[in-house]
Symmetry: C2
Subunit: 450 residues, 2 copies
């Protein structure tokens, strides 16, 4: 097995190519790149031929690629960037300090610099920021042979992205999008077939300012290799390709996961995040949750006399609030995921609520039964046993109600439903669960009667 | 805006096509399909022309497509299935009762039935179960013109999947994979160019029994449109396409999210899950966690005398264990996500642990400070204030240690690290956190001294 460190000890670029083929896993590549000593990084960048640049820099994290480029001279770095598809090149440039990015773009051929500056001028979360402007484009009134001749001329200088090339776009003289034909159909049609016979005129498109995630989901929802990006006049600006859509979905999934864990998104790959960044992104939510959780202390102090009278009530506090939090977490996690794939939204509440409450009734019956057994094993006497059992049932139902409604409500706001995290649900249920517990205790336990 | 219900009131298939174009979002399509009354479903299936079947059935959940097919006569259903790519058809057949699937396959043309039975015979989580067997294939010793003629003959009957068609595979007489050339390069090359000049012989492949998730990640990690699946003799069995890889990643992400929420994966789309299924998948973990959490009661009973002596110690129980759980959840969620994208594994523990512990030291200092303030506002006196503050710091550090190590350890086992859920971490930290709290209390608070 070739390692990266050994591959770059020889000046032969074939060794590097072999390493790439033998290391198809992105995590492994990243790991070996990170572990490279500085002189080795410099040697690697020097050994990168443009065609290898495309194979290496396009399939690692943009941040790692940006770091590598900073080890090269501006001229070399510009040469490597020029070999990449423009959407990938733009992603890498976004990770560089602005002055470095400007210098690199300045060292590129003018046409290329124009394209990259165009991409970088779009908001980073818009569809247009992620497109390749180059696509296979033909005019409509011709037959298959002349269309292929037109494509050959167009791509003589540089072929387009291989996913973008799955489709050939039919445009008018102002590059307005009229239709699409798959390259396969065009190539395999009988010579002389008019292009119009093969063209599909119902096209799914997005506009330049469409949110990147909506664009990515539109592409994957429709099993496309590439999705055209148009402006308000239907002019074809470029296409988003399936690989970039997968990157966008992956990044959004990571952000959702981080929010679900009760943290702000890190915004960088985990291994690149410094301890200070981890602290900053996490401590905000910890403090918010701490303050929200603090009222559990107020609730408990309010019931101080009851606790003093029946100290065994305290034994069950973590168990009750824990079970409430767990029940709620199960529900929110499922609903947040279903909301992020577009499966459910607020309009589905009529279906979600009866389903969740039916399940919660079964769960609360189960937990009431095991709660009774657990209280019995602690030998706390019948009144506390019954209090614990009924409280468990009530807390499970209450938690299910909150957890079913909250994420769906947020789908109608600008707040990501993923902020309804396990810690947040646990925090909401903790204090209210204690209230429920002590109110039930006061109603049932004779010593606590008025 | 056309709705599905209105589109199928007219017998014109163009209305249905218009609906599809105006409803690019899969969630919206699913919603309208689910809400269709039974007679409308029957009318929809009757109106589906084979070419529309491909556009509709391929872009909804396989389960929903399977339900639709059961509203049709076997002959109609078989006709619709025949219009789909075989990977999609196999996914739909997997959702049907076995007898229905067998009957449907029996009604297909024999060649097609053979292909589908072949796909269904692979384990459902293998790469081979998700491939399209049809790919563009040419032999090596020829030029571009004859290669294109060969492709035209091969696909005269049926074009291959449009993502699979991004690449043309070069094989020998036994269909052993020798190399690959992009369709674009082949088409746009000068006529007469030998195929060998364009062929890339270093190919990333997977074998038939590769795990589906590994195959999907290999495809996306390398920005491919399609990934060849070979057997042990390098024979080309088929290709996995990028859209199916996206489906696999999406399903795995949903399973991970469900596990992270402390539940077993539902295995069906959320809206298809019955309350009994929700109960079954959730109650297992709730019971496990309940039993694990029950020892918090044992810990508290053990410290009953201390609680009785200083009842204000009880006020902080939910706050302390809650903060411990939250800290741990933040860490495990981030690490589980990084492990599932392949960014970190057990071998990165040397990097992860110092990073997490440094962040945890900063977090524990912050929480100790706010804990002191909170205890002061409850007026519990200096000894309890200091106990709470030190305990918060200690619990945060302890939780960070457990949460950093546990998911990484699991990456080396057959257990999915995603089972280290927020509820699980909270449960682990709750009891141990209470032990830490009361031990610190006994050391600091004079009334609890021996």
């Amino acid at each position: 097995m070739t390692t990266l460190a050994s591959a770059i000890t020889t000046p032969d670029p074939a060794a590097l190519e072999e390493w790439l083929d033998e290391t198809p896993d992105r995590g492994d590549r990243e790991r070996q790149l990170r572990e490279l000593a500085t002189p080795d990084r410099t040697r690697l960048v020097a050994a990168l031929q443009p065609q290898l640049a495309d194979r290496l820099l396009a399939v690692i994290e943009p941040r790692t690629a940006a770091n590598l480029l900073t080890s090269a001279s501006p001229a070399t770095a510009a040469g490597l960037l020029a070999a990449l598809d423009s959407d990938i090149a733009a992603d890498i440039l976004r990770e560089l300090p602005e002055s470095t990015a400007v210098a690199l773009i300045g060292a590129l051929p003018p046409a290329r610099a124009l394209v990259l500056n165009g991409l970088l001028s779009w908001p980073p979360d818009s569809a247009a920021a992620h497109m390749v402007p180059e696509a296979l484009v033909i005019s409509k009134d011709q037959d298959v042979d002349s269309a292929l001749r037109q494509l050959r001329e167009q791509t003589a200088a540089a072929p387009v992205d291989s996913l973008a090339a799955a489709y050939v776009y039919v445009v008018d003289d102002d590059r307005r999008l009229l239709g699409v034909v798959s390259l396969q159909h065009l190539v395999l049609a009988a010579p002389g077939t008019p292009v119009t016979d093969l063209t599909e005129t119902d096209i799914i498109t997005v506009t330049a300012d469409t949110d990147e995630e909506v664009a990515a989901r539109t592409l994957t929802d429709n099993r496309l290799a590439a999705l055209p990006v148009i402006d308000e006049n239907s002019t074809l600006l470029g296409v988003i390709t399936a690989d970039v859509a997968a990157d966008i979905v992956e990044d959004e999934t990571t952000e959702d996961a981080e929010r679900q864990g009760g943290s702000e998104p890190l915004d960088v790959p985990y291994l690149d995040a410094s301890p200070v960044r981890l602290w900053r992104k996490r401590v905000i939510w910890l403090l918010v949750l701490f303050i929200a959780e603090a009222y559990t202390g107020t609730v408990l102090r309010y019931f101080e006399d009851e606790l003093d009278a029946v100290v065994s009530l305290a034994f069950f506090i973590p168990l009750l609030v824990g079970t409430g939090g767990n029940t709620g977490t199960q529900i929110t996690t499922t609903l947040v995921r279903a909301a992020s794939t577009g499966e459910v939204g607020l309009r589905d509440l009529r279906k979600v609520l009866p389903k969740e409450l039916s399940a919660a009734v079964m769960i609360s019956a189960t937990m009431a039964a095991v709660g009774l057994v657990r209280a019995w094993t602690l030998g706390v006497g019948w009144p506390v046993m019954i209090t614990v059992s009924i409280s468990l049932a009530a807390i499970v139902l209450w938690s299910a109600l909150v957890a079913s409604i909250l994420p769906l409500l947020l789908t109608k706001t600008r707040i990501d439903p993923a902020v309804v995290s396990a810690p947040m649900i646990a925090t909401i249920v903790d204090g209210t669960g204690l209230l429920i517990y002590f109110m039930i205790a006061k109603a049932i336990i004779p010593e606590l009667g008025q």
